[in-house]
């Protein structure tokens, strides 16, 4: 398939996926016991009040009509109004999303910067002690619930050794977040740990696969030094499948951010979502789910496209 038609196909697929997500979110909203009216008016509301509310909000119309109405609102950037914070959901998310993205991207970048060399080192030293040690450590990191890891980090590096604050940077603006980099250390470490675990495994597997390829043997036979082969060929070729996995890993990262933000009291979207869940603030909950899912779909799309552009083997259908 040529690249433009591949791109069109992938974008159409992504749009279809987002439409399905909106159906799920819409379905969830209507699966609520008593519907949204119960959610807004509370358990004390009389049947009359609920009927009037449903009529006013158009909730007595057939579901497909309501869905189209909901879709129309979405297309105009309207995610509804928060029950408890008395503000448009889109504005609330707009304020919080950048902070979550900062946390997620920092965890991702730092995680990758550690995972890639670790994975390559393991592949080169395959089945030696260092390989076993890193493998064991990454399995442990992968098996640890983020909130347990975060707690241990706080206890060790904030209580026992008073090196870092136990609370993430506070404040509304991004500038305030960056003004206190020390306070970012523990939350980012908690978010990056499973990333290191998973991606060092991918990088190890990809490097091993490449080391057994003909071009490595050819380069060796031609007299290239191992180090140069690794840097020039194996590194690049191993990186592409790893980049493609990044897209699939985004939901895990966002899920991790939800826990990390709650644990370190970081005022991002995860914390907004968390307090919305405590208050049964459904428009905020569903708006967040929609935005996070859309971000994941776009991220996956970007990862696929980047992989296709930098790795000619993908186009040829080999990788």
């Amino acid at each position: 398939m040529s690249t433009p038609s591949y791109l069109i196909r992938r974008v159409l697929q992504a749009v279809a996926v987002i439409v399905i997500v909106t159906i799920v979110v819409f379905g969830l909203l209507h699966a609520l016991p008593g519907g949204p009216a119960r959610g807004i008016l509370g358990p004390q509301a009389t049947a009359q009040q609920i009927a009037r509310f449903n009529h006013e909000q158009g909730l007595d119309q057939p579901l497909p009509v309501q869905y189209l109405h909901y879709l129309n609102q979405l297309l105009h950037g309207d995610l509804g109004t928060s029950y408890t914070l008395n503000a448009p959901v889109s504005r609330l998310i707009g304020e919080r999303l950048p902070k979550t993205l900062v946390l997620t991207v920092l965890s991702m970048v730092i995680g990758l910067l550690l995972a890639i060399p670790l994975g390559m080192w393991q592949a080169v030293r395959r089945n030696r002690p260092v390989d076993y040690v890193i493998t064991t450590l990454s399995f442990i990191a992968y098996s640890t619930p983020v909130y347990f890891l975060g707690l241990i980090l706080i206890l060790v590096f904030s209580q026992v050794l008073p090196w870092f604050p136990s609370q993430a940077p506070q404040g509304d603006s991004l500038a305030q977040v960056f003004s206190d980099p020390q306070a970012l250390v523990l939350p980012v470490a908690a978010g990056a740990a499973s990333m290191v675990a998973v991606f060092s495994r991918y990088m190890r597997a990809a490097t091993l696969e490449n080391l057994s390829e003909d071009y490595v043997r050819t380069a060796r036979a031609g007299g290239s030094r191992s180090r140069a082969i690794l840097r020039r060929h194996v590194f690049r070729n191993s990186l592409t499948p790893v980049i493609a996995m990044l897209g699939y890993y985004l939901p895990v990262l966002f899920g991790g951010a939800l826990v990390v933000e709650q644990l370190f009291n970081y005022p991002g979207m995860g914390l907004l979502f968390w307090s919305a869940a405590q208050a049964s603030d459904y428009p905020v909950l569903l708006g967040c789910v929609l935005v996070i899912s859309a971000a994941t779909v776009v991220g996956t799309l970007l990862a696929d496209v980047v992989q296709r552009i930098i790795d000619p083997r993908v186009k040829a259908g080999r990788a």
Binding site: A16, Y142, L151, Y202, Y248, G255, V259
Partner: protein, 299 residues
Amino acid sequence: MSTVIQPAKTPGTAGTPRETSGTRLAVRRFLRNRLAVAGLGVVMFFVLFCFVGPLVYHTDQTHTALQQVNLSPSGAHWLGTDAVGHDELGRLMYGGKVSLTVGLAAGVLATVVGTLWGAAAGYAGGWIDAVMMRIVDAGIAIPALFILLVVSAITTPGLPGLILILGLVSWLVPSRLIRAETLTLKNRDYVLTLRAIGGTHARAILRHILPNSVSTIIVATTFQIADAILLVAYVSYLGLGVQPPTTDWGGMLSAGLTAAYSGYWWLILPPGLAIILVVWAFNAIGDGLRDAFDVRGRG
């Protein structure tokens, strides 16, 4: 997750000598993997610990005992007591029963649903496959923790409900793996022959495609169980967990979170380490099985 699956082995029908020796070879390869064998040992230990342990080590996990709260480990209480006076070692067994049962059931449920969905999609092909897999993509795009937190805002399920919810948020990855496997199997001669002599689609899937994907399914189940046990640990933290006096390892951990700041380490380290060990063990077993069967799963 990579959806590329190499044809795992020469296809044989169940029961032929070739299949038996293949299985025996796989077992031998598995047993040579030290980490995987260690994982198997850890799982066996915890099953004995949680299910046989309470028969030997009797503790009262129902009534509170306020005269003995937050005691540090001693001869009478090897792992101390918690905030309402329950013996922590006994609680570890008691909670582990729930964690292991829910994790196993949810992991198996997720694999069964995912396998049927993936096999149906891959076998049908065309637009049915496209629609079914876009639904999977949409499900994967919504982080499971977000869904679980929304559900916890709406309802507090019992144990069967919990298993159902966990199974329904985690069947997506296995469905992708099995679909890929089905794509390579559905054009094999024996499937085409069956179709030519008038066999039904259901028969083709159930009697030929799934039995030939069994190694992929087993490996997927093992990883699914590991993930499910980890997810169970999150569930109490998110407020969806089982209700006291029943508990699970995640519930013990969440209950101990605040106590940890007071220095009551025995309330968080034992459940935390139990979760890590068991999840690690299932992952190590999955890794060993994957290498032994020579299938491509994850990582």
